[in-house]
Amino acid sequence: MQDFPPRIATFFSGTSDAPTPDPDTRSPAAFLRWMLRQQWQVIVLSSLACLLWLMPLTFGPYIFGRAVDDGILGGSTADLLTWAGVMLGVVIVGGVFGVVFHTLVVRSWLISLYGTTQMVTRKIAQMGHVLPRRSPTGEVLSVASSDSDEFGALTEILARSAAQLVSYLTVAAIVLSMSWQLGVLVLVAAPVLLGAALPLLRPLHRRQQTERSRNSELTSMATDIVAGLRILRGIGGEETFGRNYAVQSQSARRAGVSSGIWQAAVEAVGVLLSGIFLVSLVWLGTRQVNAGELSVGQLVSFLGYGLFMVGPIRTFFELAQKSTRALVSARRAIAIFEQRPPWREPADPVPLDGRAEIVDDLSGFTAHPGLLTVVVSAVPEQSAALADRLGRYLPPDTDPVGEDDADGLKGRAARRARADRERRRARIAARDEEAATRAWGVRLGGVDLSAARLDDVRRQVLVSDTGSGLFAGTLQDAIDPHGRLTREQAEEALRIANAEDVYDALPEGWQGQLDERGRGLSGGQRQRVVLARALAVDAPILVLVEPTSAVDAHTEARIAARVSDLRRGRTTVVCTVSPLWLHHADRVVLLRDGIVVADGEHADLLEHDADYRSVVVRSLDDHDELGEGVPR
């Protein structure tokens, strides 16, 4: 039987084993079924435990009735004690299984909750940089943190409803055995009561949906405020944002009140109907007692059962509400889980050789093996795009598709908005796939990157782009995230990136804590740690995008010298316009509109290419700086 936290190997196994089959994402209902199937044993057992926990309710009135008839009215102490003993037994079984039920419910709830979070993490691991292109961060996070909870709630209510159903049928059977009229009444009552309340459930559901969407809007506002708090506190705007939040909060309150009032109506109708049911049961019962068809004890049992009916009915209401909520959550989860990596692993992959020449057809760029090539472009985005191509990354040019403003839309309009979003997402996916499956246009040693396995590409070519950031953890974890460096190698990496001062700034040295995104370091320190990490990986081909944009010229010069030294004999590409790197370049390539327009040595280009000069020369054509600012 499963336990929590569950072992999940969906999407990404982390080992050489293939991941387990994907969840069923054909429809929200199919997804929920799939999820429940993953832990059916726990759910079945917990409904059994729940059934036993309900025993005092199911059998209590019957036992009491028998005790009244045989013991009290019949005057038999022995019978009385027997029935009291039976009651005690039932109560004890109920108590024990109450605890078992609770344990199992926690288990199934957490299996769903943790399992969903784990699946989200694995989905990110599987999709890598492709996922944020399609789904906004907030949505990915909310599947893990709030939708997962709805799935947990569903497992609980399912187990409880199943048990309540059996218990209800048992009660009906007991009553039926005593009087068929009353038995039929009990059997018919629940469906009738539910049916009578159903018309109220639909408007309630609609209002709850509005309430939920207002609340989620509220949550995303709060998240936005927190994320931008530095700016709000620094520049201002607290008033506006505080007010906007308050306005939204009030509108959420109104939605909540309106759905709450419907809820109250549903509850009241429930009370009314079960009360009427009780009265008819009792009235019929007393008539039967008077007619001698029923004993007094049996009547007493009926009274107990009349009160009991509230339980199952309330549970079934809850089931209806929680399953619609779970369906909404499932739809959101599917939007994440159904994404497929656009890549297709080639049938027979060609192994790559990182010591060979790498060529980009689109720009006409070539990096010769073992050399340091600097890519110069007046528009940084264009050299970054080249770096992405060399590393087989999809271009970062799409807008992820969010769950936007479906609020206020009802019925058909909401469905249309949803379909529209799905189409947009599908369009991005199709475009990604188109780009990812055809020949990539970058060849390493004559082999197109699409002919090799993607992890082989990642092993051979490491692209450290400007978005590369640090994760919370110790300095040692930051430099050596894989845990495969020796101390000497790590020190070497720090030295090459000229980041020894970071080590020095942390009192605990390697064990000094860095916060999320390296907060607690200066901007340049952060960048140098990132560089050290990339250098320590020791990839055959290393592509660095603006690796030193946040450091001073001296530091940059040191880094450029050390890096070119370290990487001697291995292919290195650096995208920058800084002369400090250019001095160390074996080859320089100039891009215009993303196409290679010139290449050669820095000094040559400087002398002969006016375009090149205009991009890289920093001396500001001032009068009096001759001698200082003249390029060498």
Partner: protein
């Protein structure tokens, strides 16, 4: 030069010696006898309690991150909320009591009915049946009114509470905001507000209803028959010690759970945001493991809570279920003695039975309230962040910014600035340059009043920056750093933050100055295009332009730009700085930059090395001087 890595061998850790995420004692033993397993279970429970207490103690006064407030603060918070709604609260209690009371009349009438049936005495059957119908109608009506009141009350309480929290966040001290982690704060405003709202919205009214029902039921039981009620009530009372112990321990358990969910969320956020880095470095496996470790820790916290509840349930089950048997036995005995009639026994048993439901609910709600209280104390913890400044009443006289003997330490005993003196002329453009990590950004933060210097003073017009009310401070100095954020909202909303009333012309003017008007006008709805997370997304360079446009609208007399154009390509950046300078004629600008064209174009340059200003002068003077700056300039332009 000393070897900065001298201590490296001492601090490097051998990862094979890393302790497992959770100690092995927390795993249940395999093939042990039932007795041993039982002992191990309690040993684990004790260990988990210890862990929960450690987490709680640590979170009351955290080294890093946000604190958690104590129970007293939570109680006071809700007391305040309740006292300001006395009338509403009284109505809530009254209507719920009426609903519960009418509900309790039913068993009594049913007992009466049994009596009539058994001995034919008392009221006629049909009258009784009609009476029950009447009572049921009343009960339904009261239930509706009571629930309606509860909803209105609960929603009102909830919206007040969450608006209070957000207002608190919006008032967090500047220094704290700049240095603390956002992951935990985000978890608090999402998950914890969610939990709190569930407990305020359903938990509180439900707990009140259930409590009322229980109290009234007990009253009704006593009214029905004292003989039958007393033994049952005594058995109920046996659960008191277990309940007390639970109430003492649960809060720490739930706060610990909350902390583990914060951690899960923080890790996951990092994973999503760093997806590309993880892919590039082949770290996905490590990251998945890190997430699993967080969940492993969280599962231990959940197990602690589960065992706590199980112990409580065991006690409650005994206390509230055995009275069925006791009532039956006592009833039978009292009946033979003629102390009670059958109707009373029936009613008593129905009461005991009917008590089960509200009691179950009461326990469930108390539990939910505990969870809610834990979340609330995490939320109120935000309010406990001590303000880092006390606004004085002096207002600046003049606009000259002066730094005098500025020292600052992020960590005690490690000054990163060592006595910086700086006097800014009005309308001056000062560039700050220097090696990475030398304290430039720190100086920028002191000069914009974000942090209080450890010694010395940073003042404007003779008044300490950190003694100014924030609203005044902002009109004096503003800081823009490399860290940017685009709010969910229209382009216009994103720019007019500091001056809400700004008209579109001003916005366009600002956008033009930062070179963004063109792309903004090309957006689908121009200024009205909704941008931000999950909406139309901007490139980092565009986001930086938006940040600068905000600053232009804010229009303080002094601007501190800490690498504020570093994500924009050098050529554009220089043009942009030029056009901004034109627009900001007469404003003082402090620009921290590694791109020395900024320094070149500035009036004066301060060179900061190791927390000291070592050179100060214009480009020409410093080049002339042939010191640090000249060397830097030579290196930069080489």
């Amino acid at each position: 030069m000393t070897d900065l890595l001298a201590t490296s061998p001492d601090t490097w850790r051998d990862r094979t010696l890393d302790p497992p995420v959770i100690p092995p004692e927390l795993h249940p033993p395999v093939d042990a006898s039932p007795a041993e397993r039982n002992r191990a279970l309690w040993a684990r429970h004790d260990l988990r309690r210890q862990r929960a207490e450690d987490v709680y103690d640590a979170s009351r006064n955290p080294v890093r991150g946000w604190p958690v407030s104590g129970n007293r603060a939570v109680l006071a918070f809700f007391r305040d909320l309740l006292t300001s709604r006395k009338g509403m609260f009284a109505a809530l209690v009254a209507f719920n009591a009426l609903a519960a009371a009418t509900g309790l009349v039913v068993p009594r009438l049913l007992g009466e009915l049994v009596n009539t049936t058994v001995d034919g005495g008392g009221l006629p059957l049909d009258t009784l049946a009609l009476a029950i119908v009447g009572v049921v109608l009343l009960q339904a009506a009261f239930t509706f009114i009571a629930q309606r009141t509860s909803t209105i009350f609960g929603q009102d309480l909830l919206s007040t509470a969450r608006e209070y929290i957000v207002r608190t966040i919006l008032r967090l001290p500047l220094g704290a905001v700049e240095s603390a982690s956002t992951g935990d704060l985000v978890t608090r405003v999402t998950r914890d507000v969610g939990t709190m709202s569930r407990s305020v919205q359903y938990g509180l009214p439900m707990a009140i209803i259930s409590l009322l029902t229980v109290v009234l039921s007990i009253g009704a039981m006593l009214l029905n028959s004292v003989v039958l009620a007393v033994p049952a009530l005594l058995t109920f009372a046996t659960s008191a010690p277990a309940v007390r112990r639970y109430l003492r321990r649960a809060p720490k358990g739930y706060i610990t759970e909350g902390a583990t969910y914060s951690r899960i969320n923080t890790t996951l956020t990092e994973t999503v945001e760093g997806a590309r880095t993880l892919e590039a470095l082949g770290l996905s496996g490590e990251r998945v493991r890190a997430g699993d470790d967080d969940i492993e820790v969280s599962a231990q916290a959940e197990r602690y809570g589960m065992t706590l509840r199980n112990v409580l349930f065991t006690a409650l089950n005994f206390a509230f279920q055995t009275p069925r048997v006791i009532t039956l036995l006592v009833g039978a005995y009292a009946y033979t003695r003629g102390w009670v009639d059958l109707g009373q026994i029936t009613a008593a048993v129905l009461y005991v039975e009917a008590l089960g439901d509200p009691l179950d609910r009461l326990i469930g709600e108390v539990d939910r309230l505990q969870v809610g209280a834990a979340s609330t104390s995490r939320l109120l913890g935000i309010a406990e962040v001590r303000p880092d400044r006390e606004a004085g009443d002096r207002l600046p006289d003049g606009t000259d910014l002066v730094g005098d003997d500025l020292r600052f330490a992020y960590r005690k005993g490690h000054d990163v600035l060592h006595g910086v003196d700086l006097r800014l002329g009005v309308g001056e453009r000062l560039a700050i340059v220097g090696p990475s990590g030398s304290g430039k950004s720190t100086l920028g933060r002191l000069l914009s009043g974000i942090n209080r210097p450890r010694t010395g003073s940073a003042s404007v017009g003779g008044v300490e920056l950190v003694d100014l009310p924030l609203e005044v401070l902002r009109t004096e100095v503003a800081l823009v750093t490399q860290e940017h954020h685009v709010f969910i909202g229209s382009v216009r909303d994103n720019i007019v933050l500091a001056r809400e009333g700004s008209d579109d012309d001003a916005v366009r003017e600002a956008l033009r100055a930062v070179g963004s008007l063109l792309w903004v006008e090309r957006l689908p709805q121009g200024l009205d295009t909704v941008i931000g997370s999950g909406r139309y997304s901007l490139t980092p360079a565009q986001a930086q332009q938006v940040a600068l446009a905000r600053l232009i609208i804010a229009d303080p007399h002094t601007l501190v730009l800490d690498e504020a154009t570093s994500l924009i390509d050098p050529r554009t950046a220089r043009t942009l700085e030029g056009s901004m300078n034109n627009l900001l004629e007469g404003r003082t600008v402090v620009a921290i930059a590694h791109r020395l064209h900024t320094a070149h174009d500035a009036d004066r340059i301060a060179v900061v090395i190791d927390g000291r200003i070592v050179e100060l002068g214009s480009h020409h003077e410093l080049v002339e001087l042939d010191g640090e700056y000249a060397a830097l300039w030579r290196a930069w332009t080489s």
